[in-house]
């Protein structure tokens, strides 16, 4: 009996099929955003008597319903906020025990004593837009990170942001315990003390 060879399957349309699938996945792909500003909310239990904070150690940032900024009683554009916050945090106006030996600020006695005492208070209106709020948050976090960057350069010869990135990177080859220690030192130099008041009720 004559053996018939199996007919060859035409593979010419394979490319078309693959294209079809490719276009489907191209359309459905949403590359999810999964990064943002991390914050920790204060626990709900109220402290009976809040510790006394001197007024000069508080830096008040107010945002009203028209997204205008009021920094320590004066209106200011958003671009100036980071600089103003850094000036305040880095002031180091304290004397004796409260002195700050690494601050490079103006040592103005009417501004904050040292970064550990300095508190930034952020207050917003219920009608403030969320994007303005995020912009302000971002600038305040940036102020802290800029100062930590400076100290990291001085102490360890690299930037704080890079160290954070290395710490989060699982493929980074290096001593993570040592890095963590260094990060903690920097964080203690400029602890992030950002207090948020609950928005005022509008009548």
């Amino acid at each position: 009996m004559a053996k018939r060879s199996a007919p060859e399957v035409n593979a010419g349309s394979m490319a078309d099929i693959a294209f079809l699938l490719l276009i489907f996945f191209l359309v459905t792909t949403t590359i999810e955003t999964d990064s943002g500003i991390s914050r920790k909310l204060p626990p709900i239990d109220d402290v009976e008597d809040p510790p006394e904070i001197r007024e000069k150690n508080i830096f008040i940032v107010l945002v009203n319903q028209n997204d205008d900024l009021l920094v320590n009683g004066e209106t200011a554009p958003l671009e100036d906020l980071r600089e103003r916050a850094m000036e305040f945090l880095d002031n180091g106006g304290g004397v004796g025990e409260e002195a700050c030996d690494y601050c490079q600020g103006a040592n103005d006695p009417s501004s904050s004593d040292n970064p550990d005492k300095a508190i930034i208070s952020l207050q917003n209106d219920r009608l403030t837009s969320y994007k303005m709020y995020i912009a302000v948050q971002n600038e305040l976090v940036a102020a802290y990170n800029d100062l930590r960057d400076r100290e990291a350069q001085r102490l360890y010869g690299q930037s704080y942001r890079q160290m954070e990135k290395d710490f989060a990177d699982p493929n980074w080859r290096g001593n993570k315990d040592k890095l963590k220690e260094q990060l903690d030192v920097l964080k203690n130099m400029y602890p992030q003390k950002l207090s948020e008041a609950e928005p005022k009720k509008r009548s």
């Binding site: 593979a11 394979m14 490319a15 693959a18 294209f19 699938l21 490719l22 996945f25 191209l26 459905t28 792909t29 949403t30 590359i31 999810e32 955003t33 999964d34 990064s35 943002g36 500003i37 991390s38 914050r39 920790k40 909310l41 204060p42 626990p43 709900i44 997204d67 958003l78 671009e79 917003n124 209106d125 219920r126 009608l127 403030t128 837009s129 969320y130 994007k131 303005m132 709020y133 995020i134 912009a135 948050q137 971002n138 600038e139 976090v141 940036a142 990170n145 954070e164 989060a168 609950e198 928005p199």
Partner: protein, 160 residues
Amino acid sequence: MSKFKKKSGGGTPGISTASLPDIVFMLLFFFMVVTVLRDNTLMIENRLPTADEVEKLDKKNLVMYIYAGKPSQRYQAQYGTEARIQLNDKFADVKDIQAFIQSERDTKREEEIPRLTTSLKVDGETNMGLVSDIKQELREVNALKINYTTRDGDAASNLQ
């Protein structure tokens, strides 16, 4: 008859398309791998604000998502244009958040619960009043780790 006869048909030879399927398959596999099929269908507008001091959220399974924003066009007749919260696949009220967090916690192992992070995906045009209400509810259920999810970019571009 010369040995060096010119070959007939002097035009450019056609490019072989035999490897085209391979190339397309390669692209296909790439997109198949990176595709994350959305588990929530968004019923709201969700243009996230931009920021550059961001931290990346790893451990996807330890993140709870809360969306907020204006209802999208086709839901506006039903739900109005006031910004609303979306949990999973439906619109929710501020007071539903506590139950949502509890139900999310029930699906996780006990030792994972303190590491749960709440990701707030809020539209840039939303008023802070709603966001503060969400934050207040989160404080009540002791879900204190939050992340304002943003797009990467300059913070000043939010104001334009």
